[in-house]
Structures are given as structure tokens and as C-alpha cells.
Subunit: 340 residues, 2 copies
DNA sequence: AAGAAAAGTGGGAGCGTTCCCAAATAGTCC
DNA sequence: GGACTATTTGGGAACGCTCCCACTTTTCTT
């Protein structure tokens, strides 16, 4: 540890230079209430001249706050990071935290010794709150964090958990809108390429599909149902299955854009024209949706906004203490492009 | 701030309970040297019973170390996050830091007021070191961080900068291996689909392509050169260009797997069989490489390892002080699959 | 067995803040 | 103008830890 370390100025030095007491200098720095204009100006000048920056460790020691929020991502979700959606959420969180002058500690929870690490980390009171992304249904993390007295906000609906603040997009309504749109386009045989049923997004979007059909007085046809794992290949495969089982399919709702891209490929391969013969709608409004052929109609959601909302909810929770905050469902909307 | 806060035990309490002095207790916790077995066991028992965890703020205040490392990612690189490669690097960094009992603070440097934010953050001495990912050639961040007396490690070669520790994969050799392999396969007209020339990976992989040709005594043919932006579409487009300009092309080296996947598509579209008519080799060994048709031969690199190495280099730099550390180039190797 | 070296121990000092309270100053009212 | 009240102000007392030094105990030496 041979750091240059030009020994940063302390509050004491600032006070001396400004010709005031330590207490007054401290007051100027934190809100500056109850300080005469003269004193304030002197202190501010001294701060400027000395290039003073408060020592956060000392501050934390006495205030018991760290001005730091942890973002916990279950690493088992390998793919999570590579996905534009999560990347967007992280970006939104980062921006919002930065605006609130909070710093973000990223915890990639190793599935193995996760509990240990996380626990000791949280006990060490390194953070003032925890944002949880990509939670499994059976995970008890939220409970154990809250047991430590730390505010938690979940990204995504809490599967069955009670009383946790969370933010999610309106998957169900979005999917329903997509199906209604297909109905309005006059499509008679509307298929669903669903996501994994053990993921909230997979379940809720499928539920929205069913709701959309119901709203139009249709009954689901099992030949028109297939599912994938959100990958392009799986979408392509699912589309082929559906085409084989029910060649008269003329509309497809895919639970995400990547699978929709796969579906487009399978349709082209089968000689169908999109949207002339078959209409396709995706979900996510990923960048990809603009570069498919034809451009993909899709359900728009804003990952950045989701991140921002998570932080906002966190701030509110931290400010209000243990008052339970209601979850927030962000709106989704249909974006009609060339594929429908 | 109405946290339950069951007032965590302090070192003093641990010491009292163990019937020893504060100093002895502290010694047990930090390395435990120069302590009698009896005392050590008593302290350890007390720690266990009380569930003691050291207060890191207090520790930081006196040691001047935070046991925290910042990972700075230039946010302007929007796509960075969505890429599996970077996701892997981040994962490797996270794992290695966690192993070293360091925490990671993620800084998404907003292109706009980046300098301000970062500076004030670093001055506040929140971190012991900085890992820098996705650096632009003209960025002065490394210099300004080092001016603060903080160790820096760059992910990726430092474009022209002197004396910075960095870790990168051997892009050039990897590309050269790929080309040599195509030569060995008896390919006569080996094309290159390069990446953007303003990115290090783009430049160096192209250089490797040229080196590979040179090693085989070939001279580059301008009709066989095209470039893209690392996206699948751009790869498809580039391949079409090349096919149009030089139909006798029988080998293609692509600067990444995504573009290679695009190239495969264009080749199929043109009626070429892979690998019978044309051999294709990519770069990255991304998950995608396994699911193309045929599976893609590619240059393997390990993003996790790159992350780990960055941390290792950082640890060494922190330990040794200002001694400049040499950069590390990680090996790449060819993985031959069905496309060549 | 006496003396010396080594090993182990306790606790004061100090890290840089914020909090709080008593003291000092300024302002107000009749 | 005196008695009071409101506003500012300075600095002591933590916060919980590590560092260090003086002191005690043990272990070698010869």
C-alpha cells in the first residue's frame, strides 16, 4: 500500500481555514441550515480552496448509513446479463441511483454459497437497501434480507410473496393487446409461442394471450399452442410445430421478440408471406424488432423505466421506513410495424 | 430511518465475553498471529455466539482501505451490456473479487457528466482500485484515475497508452490460427469479414487475418475484404457483397460469431454448402456457435478468465504499489466444428 | 536456576464525522 | 433599556476499529 496519498484535508482544517468551529463547518456541508451567511460563505470558500471532500467512512461510522444500494442478480441466470432487457434495467437503475447520489454495489449471487456470502455481506451493513433482480419463485432471499431490517425492492412480480415492494411491466395486458390486435386484423387462427412456464414473464404473457382470446369470444385451440425458451431457435422450432399441426394458422403471438424472429424465419421457410398470410406479433420491442424482415410488430416496454421505478420505490421505502409500499405495474403498449 | 437495528455487537463486547482485551480480539480476527491458542479459541467462540461481524466503516476509517473495487463501464457503449462476451467478463470479475473478499461497485459512466461524477466518486476514496472496461482510444480516464493515486487495470489493450496494466485476449494470434486452418483445409480464396476499424478487436483480428495469409505466402485480395459492425445482419450483408464480387470464394474468416452466423445464412441463400463449398470460421466461441447449422468452427476465448485475470492483476498492483505491471495476453485457440 | 529473549496481552490514542448541548450573540417586546 | 427569546456557534463525546507500545508471562539458554 504505497499510495501517494497527499493526506486529504479534513473537516477540521476546513473549519480552521474558514475561521469557524468544526460544528459550523459540518452544518454548512449538510444542508447548511442555521448558519449565518457570513459563516457559510467562509466555509464554502475554504472547501473550494482546499478541495475538501467528506470522508465517507467516518460519516458512515456515525450516521450508520452508507448511501449505497446493492443490486443482487442471481448468477444462476447465466443469460440474464446477455439480454438487452436486463441490460436496460441495470442501466436505468444505475442512472437513477446516480441521480440520487447513491452508489450501486453489484452482487452476482453465486448459486452455490450464495446464502453465506450475501448474508455476511448484508450483515456487514454495507448497504442501505437491496434491489433484487431475476428472482426464482422458491427463493427466500427477500425474506432473509428483510429479516436484517433492510428495505427490499423486487424487479418482477413476487411469486406469491406478500408485502414486498416490486416493479414489473404489465405483461398480461401487453399480451392481451397483442392478441386483440391480431383479432382486429381479422385473424381466425391465432397461435401462441409461449415462454417457459416457470418464469413469471412466461406465465403472465401466456395468460394475457388467453385473456385476449376470451375477450374476442374465442376458445384456445391446443394445436395452436407451443412454447420455447425465449431463444430464436426455440421460436423457429415452435413455429414449425404449429405449422405442421395446423397449417391454417394466420396469426402468431410470441412471448418475446427473439422467438418471433425465429417464427418469421420458419414462416418464410414454409413459403408464407408476412403479414399477407400470417400476422406475427412479438414482445419486448427489442432493437432486433427493427431489423427483422418485415419489421416486427411488438409490445413495447421500457427496461430503463423499470430500473428507474425500482430505485424510486427504494428511495420511498427507505424514507418511510417499514411502511409497505404497493407494487408498481408499468404500462406496456402495442407498436404496430410491418409484421401484422 | 426507522430500522429495527438490533445494535450489532462490537469488538469490545466480543473481547469482554471472551475474557480478553480488545487488542487480542482484533488480532484473532485479522490473521490471528501472535495469539495463544486458548485466547484464540475463546474469541472465536465469542464471535460465534454473538454473531459478530466487523463494522467495515470503522475499519476503513483507520486502515484507509475500503476493500472495494470499482468497475467502470462507459455507458456510451450501449450494446456492451447486452453482449455475452462482456457479460462473461463481468461475471469473471465478480467471481474473482468475491473470492478475494472484495466488493464490486459498478459505475456506468454517463458519457455526459462522466468526468464530474467519476472524479468526485474517486476522490471520496470509495474504492481501492478501478477496473476499466470498454475504453475508447481517446479516453483520458486512465490517466486521471492514476493521478488520484488509484491502481487501474484496463480490460482490452490500451490504445497507445503507456504503462497501464491491462488484460486482453490474443486477438491477432487467434485470427491468424483461423486463417491458417482455412489454408490447411485447402482453401484458395479466403475472405475476411472484419469488425469496425475503430475498435481494438476489429483492428487486431483483421491484422491476424493478414498475418495468416502472409504466413501462407498469399497476398490479400481486396475483393475478398468486407466489414460489418459485429451484428448478424451486417455479417449477412458483407457475405453477400463478397459473393457478388468474387463468387469463387471458398473460405471466410469472420471477426465474430454473430457475423459468421449471418455469413452462413447468406451462403445458404446463395446455394453454397458449408463446409463442402465454403469453410467458415468465426471468433468468440459464443453459445450461438453451437446452434448454427452447421455448428461453427471458431476461435475460443474465455471472457470469465479475462475478468479473473483483470482482478488478479489488480490485486497484484494493489499489493506492490506503483510498480508497473506488464499487460497480460490470454491465449486463444481454434475450435473446429462442422463449418470448416 | 538465574538471566535473557521471545511470545502474548491489554488498553490508550486516534481515524474524521455527526450529534448535541451549553455558551455566546443577535433580535424583540413592552 | 432591561428582560427574554430566537438564532448561531464551538467543541466534547461518541461511532467501532486498528495500531502501537509498554507490560506480563512463557520459553529458552547456559
Amino acid at each position: 500500500m504505497s499510495r501517494p496519498s497527499p493526506t486529504r484535508p479534513t473537516l477540521e482544517q476546513v473549519a480552521r481555514r474558514a475561521g469557524v468551529g468544526r460544528g459550523t463547518a459540518s452544518r454548512v456541508i449538510n444542508g447548511g441550515d442555521r448558519v449565518s451567511t457570513r459563516a457559510r460563505e467562509a466555509v464554502e470558500a475554504a472547501i473550494e480552496e482546499l478541495g475538501y471532500v467528506p470522508n465517507s467512512a467516518a460519516r458512515t461510522l456515525v450516521t450508520r448509513r452508507t448511501d449505497t444500494v446493492a443490486l443482487v442478480i442471481a448468477e444462476s441466470e447465466e443469460r440474464i446479463f446477455g439480454e438487452p432487457f436486463f441490460a436496460g434495467v441495470v442501466r436505468g437503475i444505475g442512472a437513477a441511483l446516480s441521480d440520487a447520489n447513491l452508489q450501486m454495489v453489484l452482487l452476482l449471487a453465486q448459486s452455490g454459497h450464495r446464502t453465506n456470502r450475501l448474508d455476511s455481506f448484508l450483515i456487514a451493513q454495507h448497504v442501505d437497501g437491496v434491489l433484487l433482480l431475476s428472482l426464482h419463485d422458491d427463493d427466500t432471499l427477500p425474506e432473509s434480507i428483510r429479516a436484517r431490517g433492510l428495505p427490499v425492492v423486487l424487479g418482477g412480480e413476487p411469486g406469491g410473496r406478500e408485502g414486498f415492494g416490486f416493479v414489473d411491466v404489465d405483461n398480461e395486458l401487453g399480451a392481451e393487446l397483442a392478441v386483440r390486435h391480431l383479432v382486429e386484423r381479422g385473424r381466425r387462427h391465432i397461435a401462441s409461442i409461449a415462454g417457459p412456464s416457470d418464469m413469471v414473464a412466461g406465465r403472465t404473457r401466456y395468460a394475457g394471450y388467453l385473456a385476449g382470446l376470451a375477450a374476442a369470444g374465442r376458445t384456445p385451440d391446443s394445436r395452436l399452442q407451443a412454447s420455447g425458451d425465449f431463444s430464436q431457435d426455440s421460436g423457429e422450432r415452435a413455429m414449425r410445430e404449429i405449422l405442421a399441426r395446423c397449417p391454417e394458422v394466420d396469426g402468431v403471438f410470441c412471448a418475446n421478440d427473439l422467438m418471433a424472429a425465429g417464427a418469421l424465419r420458419a414462416l418464410r421457410e414454409s413459403g408464407r408471406a408476412v403479414p399477407a398470410d400470417v400476422s406475427v406479433v412479438g414482445f419486448d420491442d427489442a432493437p432486433l424488432a427493427l431489423s427483422t424482415e418485415p419489421p416486427l410488430s411488438t409490445v413495447h416496454q421500457s427496461p430503463e423505466e423499470m430500473g428507474r421505478e425500482m430505485v424510486d420505490l427504494m428511495l420511498r421505502t427507505m424514507a418511510l421506513g417499514d411502511v409497505p409500499q404497493p407494487g408498481r405495474i408499468l404500462p406496456t403498449r402495442l407498436v404496430v410495424r410491418g409484421s401484422s
